[in-house]
Subunit: 142 residues, 2 copies
Amino acid sequence: MSKPSPALVDALFRLSFVLQGHLVRLAAAHDLSLVQLRLLGILRDREPGMLELARHLELEKSSSSGLIDRAEARGLVERVPSKEDRRAATVRMTARGRKLARALEDEVSRELGALLAVLSEPERVKLTALVERVVERAKPPA
Amino acid sequence: MSKPSPALVDALFRLSFVLQGHLVRLAAAHDLSLVQLRLLGILRDREPGMLELARHLELEKSSSSGLIDRAEARGLVERVPSKEDRRAATVRMTARGRKLARALEDEVSRELGALLAVLSEPERVKLTALVERVVERAKPPA
DNA sequence: TCCCTTGGTTCGTGATAAGAACTACTTTAG
DNA sequence: CTAAAGTAGTTCTTATCACGAACCAAGGGA
């Protein structure tokens, strides 16, 4: 359980604030909250029910209900009633939502690209590998 | 302006969500919001005025006013009237706030330590260097 | 001195999250 | 087959928190 160096802890948190800051600003530019942005990210490759969605976003189901209300009102997602279970519905992105998600993804990677330009390609590869191993370890608890 | 690989973008954002998630949970365990946590972080080595503080936190001055109200009510910080300018006051951490900040810092680095244990010491050093260069570049725009 | 700027606070409003209560459907135990 | 228990979602009330506009002093020229 050797403590990591303060420099590393500090650098990582600074990085995380920088990244989140970018996300928040970019989302805001499209009138989205950070949670709505995460929602779009999640729906990119999933079509979860409310409950599952709430779990992903770490929200109460009542909160995600409201979240989807708002997103649906803006035409970004739609509730799809389940055929098998008449209580359930899944949430799916609309074409409009998908387009917005794609645009955001683009802007994000453009901005991040500017930051990462300080590193050489081999360095970026190395960084990718290191970070992936760390986040990998973070998954299990979830 | 070469786009970074999606894998890297993805890994970095995943990491940033993991880190922020830790912060949020830890802060919540002490009944603090993320912003209050950042406040403590900022006050560790500064004694800013309201306006300067708002800038650091990217809040409106009215918001930081309320923020400090709440933190002050909990005895974590105090407003120190400026001697030179009778309008102004600076915000300073109290002993109680400092103690809490220290405890949080400890918990944070303990949790992060568990994550970073997947890397060897040389790898951590490498990671530190890479991340520092990236965040360094992020500073200027601020 | 008069006016403009600056540091802060107050107040009203809006967004969002939690939790409890409720509806409707499914599943399970007898 | 039916009653009881569980599950998926919604609704409603409440609390937090951020913003913006209005406001109050107190500085600082000209």
